[in-house]
Amino acid sequence: MTEKPIQGEKRVFMTGNEVVAWAALAANAEIMYGYPITPQNEIMHYWTRLAPKHGRKFLQTEDEISAGFTTVGGVLAGRRSFTATAGPGNTLMQEALSMAEMMRIPIVQVVTQRGGPSTATVIYSQQEVTMTCFGGNGEGARIVYSTSTHQELYDYTIKAFNTAWKYRFPTHVLGDGYQSKMRESLTMYDPEARGIDMVPTEPYVGNEGTPGVDRDPNHLRNTYNTEDELYDVVTNLMSDWEKYAPEIAEYQEYDVEDADVLIIAHGVVTRAAQAAINELRAQGKKVGHFRPVTLRPIAEEQLRKRVEQAKSVLVVESAYGQLRKILDNALYGLTTPITNFFKPGEGVTADEVVEEVNKLL
């Protein structure tokens, strides 16, 4: 093994895509599988530049269907594996992600959201929320971290590998084209130097000994013969999901204690929301911000508490209600009025958020 890619800590200036490649390297990811798509490409570019220097591997597949399944294969072989994609590539990857849900395969997928539906733009959106959280023919047993800064891209890419391998659910880092291409500074660090131990990996197949004699067989199935068998499997899967969801869920709150208006936003849009509340608070206006960091599972209890306290809620997103749907599900029964500010495929500025909040005050 070559020396550690990052010794101690280092302040650096980078684009978001580079951050992901470095974070995967620092997290001891062993192999990336991928197929090019904008705005994800430099994750692959930088991984392929860094991987040979650090004894890591890369496989470019023929498409994203294959990239998803080879990532599953890498994990089955016990390798810390990941892939990255966007938009239509994410769509194609859903079958493999669905398989990972069914078989509890801890793959890590980085999504750099671009416009949708279909090919749309290669630029930016928050329109892959529904697909990343609930895509495929499953129940959404997936963990989705929605990042907002380069520091978070670094932190959560490392964390995603650990969450995946600890809980054995497919885990996603949900970025976007703006974060991919933006340049800002961050601190890169060796996780170990910060007391973060990487959860050990283990192979699902090819284990030593004779199954049934020396050890239990590894019963890996995504196909079942009867309804009853499937019922048991999915019931157990979702029972685990519900058990672990509260400890996985993450959120951030800004000035929520006495907030009359509560802004809810995720990902890069939280930056506009945070800037907006700073401005509004300076004017003495009681405005707060709740930011779900995990979109799946969502921090339901805390979210309900804050929404119940507020007189009015503003949901801001660069999609036409994909976050709103998740919120509605979590907030069922509450009567606090909710207003939408939807900008599918477009960025949101602090000024726009201020303007929308002022309409509610």
Binding site: R11, V12, M14, Y178
Partner: protein
């Protein structure tokens, strides 16, 4: 205004203010521009996000302010995001001749690659000063193959822009290896910075590393770039004795 740059709306306002200062210059000097002997042809190359476009734009503006006629060419065919394209109109208002696509003119940008404009291929046949903003890395450097006359143009100076806060070009060893792969390089530019967190220590750290690179490759350091916000400190040369050039950061306003 470019539709997708809404997120930076407030920044643009600032930029327009900046432009109007230059209009004063144009109003007074528009007819005094004359051909100056010894034209300048420079190309800015380097690592992804090293500051190529930023330094190219600043150079073009600098030459224009000296009353020279300047053509600035966006030859970034590698990465369609941060290019000078969204700044085209503002730079034209300064009297710079800009050869670049406008985002709306393109089809499948970022998906189907960028197409060379015919004017780009023949740009070295033009008169007066020419500043070329080249795409990143070795692939970017190959762009010279597409420009008529670039291979044997004796006036063309190629400068590699380096920011040592970028981990791929942080050490002497890595930078030497990187610059050697780019082909012909006539000068190095120290563009070390950490965005808004930049202080002089960071710039000097970069200057020291790049000065080592310069000795090893026998390529001169042309200047150290520093944000104009640091100008008040009155530093004219870095500790390596290299002149400091204060630059305006245009690129944060140019997303797509």
């Amino acid at each position: 205004m470019v539709r997708t740059s809404n997120i930076f709306k407030s920044c643009f306002t600032g930029l327009f203010k900046h432009s109007s200062n230059k209009n004063y210059f144009l109003e007074n000097n528009n007819f005094e521009v004359r051909k100056i002997e010894g034209r300048i042809i420079e190309a800015y190359i380097g690592e992804y996000a090293s500051g190529k476009s930023e330094n190219a734009i600043n150079r073009a503006v600098e030459l224009r302010e000296q009353g020279r006629k300047v053509t600035l060419v966006d030859l970034d065919l590698v990465e369609p995001f941060y290019t000078l394209r969204p700044l085209k109109k503002q730079l034209e208002e300064l009297g710079i001749n800009v050869i670049a696509w406008e985002t709306r003119e393109t089809m499948g940008l970022g998906e189907a690659g960028s197409i060379l404009k015919p004017e780009m291929k023949w740009v070295l046949r033009r008169e007066y000063d020419i500043i070329l903003d080249i795409g990143y890395g070795v692939e970017g450097a190959k762009t010279f193959n597409l420009i008529e006359g670039a291979a044997d143009n004796k006036e063309l100076k190629i400068f590699a822009v380096v920011n040592t806060s970028r981990p791929m070009t942080a050490s002497v060893e890595d930078i030497v290896e990187y610059v050697e792969r780019l082909g012909k390089v006539d000068g190095l530019i120290n563009n070390t910075h950490l965005g808004d967190e930049t202080d002089w220590d960071i710039i000097e750290e970069g200057a020291e590393i790049i000065s080592e690179v310069s000795k090893e490759l026998d390529i001169p350091v042309i200047y150290t770039a520093a944000d104009e916000k640091l100008k008040d400190m009155g530093i004219a040369t870095d500790k390596q004795g290299i002149p400091v050039k204060y630059i305006h950061r245009y690129m944060p306003h140019s997303f797509w």
